[in-house]
């Protein structure tokens, strides 16, 4: 089954592996709306618990479809339909309730519309205060020094990488870039909470996960410069990273195309019975364009367990993802995580966000609400990080990045032949012809074509 984590830059988990029993995680406390009690009795579509098939559906095709379902074979079954179990009121009388797929529905003589907005918004789970203090009474998964320091260093690296590549674009050295500024906690804390076997389907603002998994600054630079060391062979825009060895799917620009694909990856992991999950990310563009209370409330609408977490609180994100991953792996169902955050940078180098939002709002989230600052305070307080280490780290990363850019810039571009490779597994005759034709044209008009592309 899959956990679909969504965050407002959201994270979707899809977990696929086996196992059907429900584990009640006792270690973590979290404010989520859980209607699930246990999965042992579910009343809708499995044969045995089926009460009166005639009661709700006249459609005989549907009824017989349900009956066929009862004769489901043992091998490779689709997941059990664990339906949300609604509270079982004691309605003996058929006039007070009726059986319907999903559970019993009781009748009411009052015509009452459900409000379009709840009285209160779904609360947001957080563990660290803005000042980096652990909030009293909060329960979370403890992070050891090594992990915490690695997390913090990665967040810093991500931030600096964003700054420097952004500047490089401004200087015309790369053609495009977009930053993850403000979302470093989501990137890094989520990555830290997952294993390298978990497959990531990013939107485009999650390079921190690659960073966590060992993608080097040079590899990032190579992709942005589209040189012949780029795994994508220069065929995609900058920041559209992809690395199958890091279990990070190649980024595709259009919003939310990766969400259905995540279901497919989940399916695949399930078939392979792997103890791993899929995480699909999407932001507001993929979820929050409408009038609901964010996307967390949509979880229930889809029968998906969901939670809202403070996306700028690295500890909260870490705990949530860890918990969610456990749930997904053991229960084989999707989980939706909405991580509230703020995109500090512009959408991309092609955007000037001051045109549609106030500058002081940006400043506020950049400074007072910075996820790095908050986490640094906590790490600092634990005695795990010093200011000296900070400046040393920053200096070192900066130097490495500038070097990586220089190297990437000088590295040769992919050969012309790569323009035609990977369209199909083998080069078909029409592409062969087209390549020949292009080469002849270039030979005839050498001065009209870029000289830095090896033929």
């Amino acid at each position: 089954m899959a956990i679909w984590l969504s965050r407002s830059r959201k994270i979707a988990h899809f977990l696929n592996p086996k196992i059907a029993y429900f584990l009640q995680p006792e270690d973590f406390s979290y404010k989520i709306h859980v209607n699930y009690v246990n999965s042992s009795s579910f009343r809708t579509l499995s044969g045995e618990n089926f009460r009166s098939p005639h009661a709700f559906l006249d459609n005989s095709a549907t009824v017989s479809a349900l009956q066929r379902r009862c004769r489901r074979p043992e091998s490779t079954r689709a997941g059990e339909q664990v339906e949300t179990r609604y509270s079982d009121d004691d309605y003996e009388d058929e006039n007070q309730a009726m059986d319907f797929p999903g559970g019993r529905v009781s009748f009411t003589h009052e015509m009452k519309f459900i409000s379009e907005a709840a009285d209160k918004r779904i609360p947001c789970y957080r563990v660290l205060s803005d000042d980096g203090y652990l909030i009293a009474g909060s329960r979370f998964e403890q992070v050891d020094k090594e992990t915490a320091v690695k997390m913090y260093k990665s967040m810093v690296t991500l931030q600096i990488m964003d700054n420097i590549f952004y500047e490089a674009q401004r200087q015309g050295r790369i053609s495009f870039y977009l930053t993850s500024t403000g979302e470093e906690a989501i990137n890094i804390a989520a990555a830290a909470a997952l294993t390298s076997d978990d497959v990531i389907l990013p939107q485009y603002r999650e390079p921190g996960i690659l960073l966590w998994r060992g993608f080097t600054l040079q590899e990032f630079a190579n992709q942005c410069f589209g040189n012949n060391a780029d795994y994508g062979k220069g065929k995609q825009m900058p920041i559209h990273y992809g690395s199958n060895k890091h279990n990070f799917f190649t980024i595709s620009s259009p919003i939310a195309t990766q969400l259905p694909q995540a279901a497919g990856v989940a399916y695949s992991l399930k078939m392979d019975k792997k103890e791993a999950c899929v995480v699909a990310f999407t932001g507001d563009g993929g979820t929050k364009q409408f009038r609901s209370d964010g996307v967390v409330v949509k979880g229930q609408a889809y029968g998906i367990r969901s939670i809202r977490v403070d996306g700028n609180d690295a500890l909260a994100v870490y705990s949530t993802i860890r918990a969610a991953r456990e749930m997904v792996i053991h229960e084989q169902k999707p989980v939706l995580v909405e991580a509230l955050s703020y995109r500090v940078g512009h959408h991309s180098t092609s955007d000037d966000s001051t045109k549609y939002r106030p500058v002081d709002e940006i400043e506020h989230w950049k400074t007072a609400r910075s996820p790095l600052a908050r986490f640094r305070k906590w790490v600092h307080k634990n005695g795990w990080w010093t200011d000296d280490e900070e400046s040393e780290l920053r200096g070192s990363i900066r130097k490495q990045l500038l070097n990586a850019i220089q190297v990437a810039e000088k590295t040769e571009k992919p050969q012309l032949a790569e323009m035609f490779s990977d369209v199909y597994d083998n080069l078909p005759s029409n592409l062969h012809e087209q390549e020949k034709s292009l080469r002849e044209t270039i030979k005839r008009h050498r001065q009209d074509y870029p000289t830095d592309v090896p033929l």
Binding site: G79, G232, P260, Y267, S268, D272
Partner: protein, 398 residues
């Protein structure tokens, strides 16, 4: 363990052929079709030849040659949808990574029974019923393929695939390329299209040409029981995403096919009837209208060469070119609409490549540029009928 090809008439590459090519490349001549390896004889009694058999459909002339082998095998008779299923089942047996997604493919067995019995045999996870959400389950297929599975995605009607167009075009077709070859998408997207019997405009779509532009995918259209099975198997084995077009009215064709395993080439056209006077290019259901017209034409003294192009992307310009070189006249008969159909694209390709060989402009018979009307008589008039084909040939061969 011979693999048998029905595309007889594809001789070994002719050297002279290349001289007239603008692009002057010998390598662009299609080499002899690759026979897939890994075939096994299903029956124990060794190889046999494919006996071109009694094709029961009235409008089909069968001129397939026997192979060199001596003993003839009776083969077995089945309907086209059963052949598709047989091909699918054989591939699912052979490779545990092959799986099926689609609406009603599992418990119901498929709206055209192509997947009947498969869920019972392989389980309802491997033959998965999806919700009515084409974009979602097509995307799911892409994701599954990128992680090593080989999904066969069924569109209940090809028209519905429009809802999945983004996943097909931007992802199926592109992710292999944009990932620099790191991820492959070996999916098969299949389903019925074409004009049926009063199914209404939205369910009578011919969308082949919509997909033709998409780089990275291949398109094939099956038309006989024999090639349905062979193309299904080839599509599943291909590392590239393949769209396999079936036709609603052809599912109940009955034909005898070999017991031995065979896989056809995705890029080859099929020589249905060799001839001298004119090349008629067609595919899918129109093949039968053409063959019916061919009977009339033969009685009138014409000798048409009929080629079922089968591969819509890429076109088998080798087979087609050889034919044009011989007959110098081309008639294209398709069910697509006139504007922007496969015929339009094929006309351009032939003109571009074989212009010197044509004695007359290419004629393309297509459906009108109208949504398919519901009324039975009107519907019939939107589809090219044998009488029109006969008239067009007579006109062209004056």
């Amino acid at each position: 363990m011979a693999a048998m090809l029905q595309a007889i008439g594809v001789a070994s590459p002719s050297v002279a052929f290349s001289d007239h090519y603008n692009k002057s490349s010998v390598s662009s001549i299609r080499s002899f079709p690759v026979i897939r390896s890994g075939l096994r004889s299903i029956s124990g009694s060794g190889h046999g030849s494919f006996k071109p058999g009694k094709v029961i459909t009235k409008a089909t002339a069968t001129q397939t040659e026997k192979s060199a082998s001596t003993t003839s095998k009776p083969g077995h008779e089945l309907l086209l949808f059963e052949a598709l299923r047989e091909g699918l089942e054989e591939e699912m047996d052979r490779d545990p990574r092959v799986c099926v997604f689609g609406e009603d493919v599992g418990h119901y067995g498929g709206s055209y029974k192509v997947t009947k019995g498969l869920a019972e045999k392989y389980g309802d996870l491997r033959v998965l019923d999806t919700p009515i959400a084409e974009n979602s389950f097509t995307g799911m297929g892409v994701g599954a393929a990128m992680t090593g599975l080989r999904p066969v995605i069924e569109g209940m009607n090809m028209g519905f695939l429009l809802l999945a167009f983004n996943q097909i075009s931007d992802n199926c077709g592109m992710l292999h390329y944009t990932s620099g070859g790191q991820f492959t998408i070996p999916t098969v997207i299949r389903g019925p299209g074409g004009v049926g019997r009063q199914l209404g405009a939205e369910h009578s779509q011919r969308l082949e040409s919509y997909f033709q532009s998409i780089p990275g995918i291949q398109l094939v259209a099956c038309s006989t029981v024999y090639n349905a099975k062979g193309l299904m198997k080839a599509a599943i084995r291909s590392e590239n995403p393949v769209v396999l077009f079936e036709h609603v009215l052809l599912y109940n064709l009955k034909e005898r096919i070999p017991d031995e395993e065979y896989v056809l080439s995705l890029e080859e056209a099929e020589m249905v009837r060799p001839g001298e006077h004119i090349t008629i290019l067609t595919y899918s259901r129109m093949r039968y209208h053409v063959m019916q017209a061919a009977k009339t034409l033969v009685n009138k003294g014409y000798d048409p060469e009929v080629i079922d192009i089968r591969s819509l992307k890429p076109f088998d310009l080798y087979t087609i070119g050889n034919s044009v070189k011989k007959t110098h006249r081309v008639l294209i008969v398709e069910e697509c609409m006139r504007t922007g159909g496969i015929g339009a694209s094929l006309t351009a390709a032939i003109n571009e490549n074989f212009h010197d060989y044509l004695d007359a402009p290419i004629v393309c018979l297509s459906s009108q540029d109208v949504p398919t009307p519901y009324a039975g008589t009107l519907e019939e008039w939107t589809v090219v009928q044998p009488a029109q084909i006969v008239a067009a040939v007579e006109q062209l061969c004056q």
